[in-house]
């Protein structure tokens, strides 16, 4: 039951976009059409689901205070957690590179459509953010961390696909000129955020 709870929290209640604004830059930039949004969303789910467990292992067996005790008594008191930023981002960058090569090989059309935003997943804050939340919330098993990461990814996916669908339609509406594009997208995101807030309080 705990896992379902984590999943629901990740997808709806603590949605990466609507509750924490993580990954906003690519969310705003790639949400012009549903097709590219779906591609990027799927890539983000994948990267999250791989990087967070890897970072969980790093955190628990290398970085955390006392995590190095498997190497012997004399290492048991070491606390390397100040290194976590650099370790986490290195893992993220490496895995994004991997994803980039895979997408280029197996889905060249998508690769072309995503362009610069594929490598930029490395600097998508939702990825590093999830790793840091994982560290802060101290998930006790790797399964919990994986479920958390995947569900945050799904939440992000839902958010970007939904906004892309709305933006495709809004092209035909009369928006005040200075609000066109970026401004109205912010406002819609805010409204969706309010809608998603109604999920808070749900738990199983």
């Amino acid at each position: 039951m705990d896992l379902i709870n984590i999943a629901i929290k990740g997808i709806f209640v603590e949605n990466m976009i609507f509750a924490y604004f993580l990954g906003m830059c690519s969310y705003l930039a790639v949400s012009k059409t549903v097709k590219t949004a779906t591609g990027l969303g799927a890539a983000v789910i994948f990267v999250l689901a791989v990087t967070v467990p890897v970072n969980w292992l790093l955190e628990n067996y290398i970085l955390k205070e006392g995590a190095l005790s498997w190497m012997g008594e004399e290492y048991a008191s070491l606390d390397l957690s100040f290194l976590s930023f650099i370790m986490f981002i290195a893992v993220v960058a490496a895995i994004v590179q991997l994803v980039e090569m895979l997408v280029e090989k197996f889905a060249p059309a998508l690769y072309g459509a995503l362009g610069i935003f594929l490598p930029l997943i490395a600097v998508n804050c939702s990825i590093l953010g999830a790793a840091l939340f994982m560290q802060e919330r101290q998930y006790s098993t790797i399964t919990e961390a994986t479920v958390f990461a995947t569900s945050s990814g799904i939440g992000w996916f839902i958010a970007i696909v939904a906004i892309a669908a709305i933006r495709e339609k809004i092209k035909y509406s009369h928006v005040p000129a200075p609000l066109k594009g970026l401004g109205i997208t912010f406002i819609i995101t805010g409204l969706m955020g309010i809608a998603f807030m109604s999920f808070s309080g749900i738990s199983f």
Partner: protein, 220 residues
């Protein structure tokens, strides 16, 4: 025999590096970078100021570092080199904050770490520092982080004032319990403004105002 004319430190071109990002080419409202933190930490002015200063430090020094190394970095691994430079600087900021402003470090929580993935950083390293000398890069870093900072401060003034009736943590709208000051004429704290989605509306309003004044920025 042409003697190389030394460019003055604050030549017209260099001044433009600082003034341009403040409005015309603002990182937040025009280039749409660094939005995440701009929204999440604007609940109080104090947080916004600390965050802006941290970003200022990381972007300006990082720009200088990347610019100094620009001829040594192999093209293929430049993103990772830039990320490592950013991450090391952010570790410094994080440790300093933890040591001297522990409350603030607690409030900013993961968002200090997320400076690493703040797109302004990577944007500036990649687009400017990789192609320019250290001094212009430094100015460019300062300019961009100021452009980022003022948006944060404006949004946070709005949110803190109408959300809690305070500015810089000082109650200025009167006392809510005793009903003095603005509260005596029926003013009430708008708790909605503290909530996350309202940051989006605030930024949208800033964009609206800015684009109404500067018509060049309107999207078609």
């Amino acid at each position: 025999m042409s003697e190389k004319v030394k460019e003055p430190l604050f030549s017209k071109k260099n001044k433009k590096l600082i003034t341009d990002p403040l409005s015309e080419n603002n990182p937040v409202t025009v280039q749409v970078l660094g939005i995440c933190s701009a929204l999440a930490i604007t609940v109080s002015i104090e947080q916004a100021v600390v965050m802006s200063l941290s970003v200022l430090f990381v972007v300006a020094t990082g720009n200088v570092v990347v610019s100094l190394m620009r001829n040594l970095i192999p093209d293929r691994i430049r993103i990772i080199v830039q990320l490592v430079a950013a991450a090391s600087l952010v570790i410094i900021v994080n440790e300093v904050l933890k040591a001297y402003l522990p409350d603030m470090a607690e409030k900013l929580s993961v968002f200090v770490g997320l400076i690493i993935t703040n797109c302004i950083l990577m944007g500036r390293y990649e687009a400017f520092a990789m192609a320019n000398k250290p001094w212009p890069s430094f100015l460019d870093g300062i300019g961009n982080s100021l452009g980022y900072g003022w948006i944060l401060v404006v949004v946070s003034i709005f949110r803190e004032l109408f959300g809690t009736g305070k500015l810089f943590g000082v109650q200025i709208m009167g006392d809510a319990v005793e009903g003095t000051g603005a509260y005596s004429v029926g003013y009430m704290n708008n708790n909605l403004i503290i909530l996350a989605p309202f940051a989006l509306f605030c930024v949208a309003i800033v964009i609206w105002v800015q684009r109404s004044i500067n018509k060049n920025l309107i999207e078609h």
